[in-house]
Amino acid sequence: MFGLNKKDGLLFLVVIAITLLAPFLLNPFPEGSGMAQFNAGYPDLLQRFAIYGIFAIGFNILFGLTGYLSFGHAAFLGVGSYAAVWMFKLFTYNVVPAIAFAVIIAAIFSVLIGYISLRRSGIYFAILTLAFAQMSFALAYSVLSNPKFNLTNGETGLQVYSNDLQMFHRTGLPDMPHIFGLSVRASYELELGGWSFTFNVGYYLCALIMLIAFYFAIRLFRSPFGMMLRAIKSNNTRMTYTGLNAKPYALAAFVISGMYAGLAGGLLAAMDPLAGAERMFWTASGEVVLMTILGGAGTLIGPVLGAGLIKYMENIVSKINDNVLHQWFAFLPDGMEDAVVALIHPFVGKGWHLTLGMIFVLVVIFLPGGLVEGGQRIARLFRGKKAREAEKSSQSNPAE
C-alpha cells in the first residue's frame, strides 16, 4: 500500500481517516450541553493540531532518529512565518507560493545553523541551537525592525496592510489568504440534531499537507537513509569506522526537520497572516521537544499525538475557570463544593501548565516511550489476556 509495508500502510490509513473525519470525531458533544466546552472540532484548533503535528513530525526526524536534541527549532518556524507573510505583502495572498517560500527560507536558515551547530554533539549541540534561536528572536524582535530597515515589524508583528504592494492581487480575490481564490476561512456548517460540525478550507489544507508530510516521514524512517540516522544515534564510533561520514547525514536530517518547521510556520501564517517574534522564543522550541517526548520520540505517530495533547490542553483545559468548576460540583454541599473547586483550581484555567507538567513527569517516569508505549502496553495487556484464555482452553481440553 503506497509502497509501505502492511503495518505502516495500516497506520497511514488510520491517520488519513482520523484527519479527514476530525471535525466529527473531535466534536462528540452536542452544542449547548455542559460538555460542549470539551469539543475541539472548531477550525482554529483543528488547524493547530495539523500544523503543530507537522512541526513535531519534522522535529522527530532529527531528534527521534539521530538523537541530536535541537533546542532552537522554533527559529525555523518563525522564519517560515515571516517568509510567508512577506510573500503576502509583496506578491499575492495565494498560500501556495507563500508556503513554498517559507520552506525554502527555512531550508537556507537550517543549513547555516546546522552546519555550525553540528560541529558539536550532545548538550553542546543543544546549547548552540538554543543560542542561534535566541539570536534569531532578538534579531526579529528589535534589530531587524527599525525605521530604516523594517523586516519584521518588531513587537507588533509582521502583517499585511492595505497599502502593501501585493503585485498579483486583483479585485474579486478574497482579502485574506486563499487557495486560488478559495478563502482559507471559508467553512461549511453542518447541523445535525443538536450537533454542529464545521468543515473549514484552511483545516483541510493543513490536514492534506500534514498527511503528505507524515507519508514522507514514514518513507524516510524505513529508508536506508533513516537506518543511517539511527546508526548515528546508536554508535557514532562504529559509523566512522564503517567508512561513513556522520556529518552530512546529520546535517541532512537537520535541514529536513528545519524545512518541516518552516512548512509549519508558513501554514500558521497562511491561516492567519501575521508573524510575531514570540514564535521564535525559546519556550516555543521547548514546546516541540515536549510534544515529541510526550508522544514518543523515534516513533512515527507519537509526535502527532503529543502535539495534539498539548494543543488540546492549551486551548481546552485552559478555558475551565472557577465558574465552570462551580457548575460541575453544584450537586455537592456548599462547603464541600468550595473545597473541591479550590483543590482543582490550580490545575485548570491558567494553571493548565501544572497539569501538563504532571502528565509529562508521569509519562517520562512510567512510560519512557511516550504515549505510544502506553498504547502498546494496553494492546499487549489485551493480547495477553486473549493468549492466556486460549492457553486455558487448550489446557482444559486434554483433561476432558
Binding site: 509502497g3 518513507r219 529508508s223 554508535n235 569506522y241
Partner: protein, 251 residues
Amino acid sequence: MGILEVKNVNKRFGGLQALGDVNLSVAENSVHAIIGPNGAGKSTLLNVLIGKLIPDTGSVMFQGQSVLGRKPYEINQMGISRVFQTPEIFGDLSVLENMMIPIFARRDGVFRMHAYENSSNEREIVDQAETMLENLGLAEQRHDHSASMSRGNKRRLEIGMCLAQEPKLLLLDEPTAGMARADTNNTIDLLKQISDERDITIAIIEHDMHVVFSLAERITVLAQGSPLVEDTPENIKGHPKVREAYLGESA
C-alpha cells in the same frame, strides 16, 4: 614492500615518548601480531594507523598511499577496517541492520541520500547481509536487538561487519579481551578461517599469548614505545630480549 609500511614514527605526549622510531612492515595476506607489555605503545600505534592520532614525525603508508592526515572514515574507505577491544556495534539496531550498514557503506561510499527507498526492498543488500550472517552462525538472531547478544556473538558480528566491507587490512585490538575460553577459541577459529579463505591481511594486537601463537605468522614485540624484535612465533618464544621485556628479568 608490505601492504602497510610504518617508518620512523614518533609520538610524544608531553614528557612521555609513547612511540619512538617505530618501523614496521606488514606483509600482504599475512597475520601479523603486535605484542608487548602494558604501556608499550600498542594502542597508540593502532590509533596512528586508523587516523585517530597524528604522529609527530614519520610516515604510514598503506598500499603506497599515506594515511596520515586523513579522516578515520577516509582511511576506512581505503580498505582498513578496525575491530575494537569492546565490540562496537549498533546496539539499538537489529542484527540484520547492523550487517546491512557496512554493505551500504561499501556500495554507496561515505554519504548517499536515499531517503525514499525502502531498505527492505534493497534485495541485493539484504541477501548479502543474510549470507554473511549465515556464515557467522548468527542467522537465527537476525531480527534480535544486537545489544542483547552475548559478548562472543557481538564480537563475531563486529568482525563480520568489518569483513562485509571487504577490507584489505583488518586491525584487531585485543579481540578476545574479557572473553570466556570457549568464546576465545571460537574467535581464533573464525579469524583462522578468514585468513585462509580471504585475500586479507590481519594485524592483531593482543595480550593473550595463546591467541597470538595460534594465529600469527610474524610477531613484533614492542617495549617502551619501540620495536624490540620482529620474528616468527617459534623464534619469539625463546627470545631472551622478549623474556626480559615481559618478565623484567635479566637474561
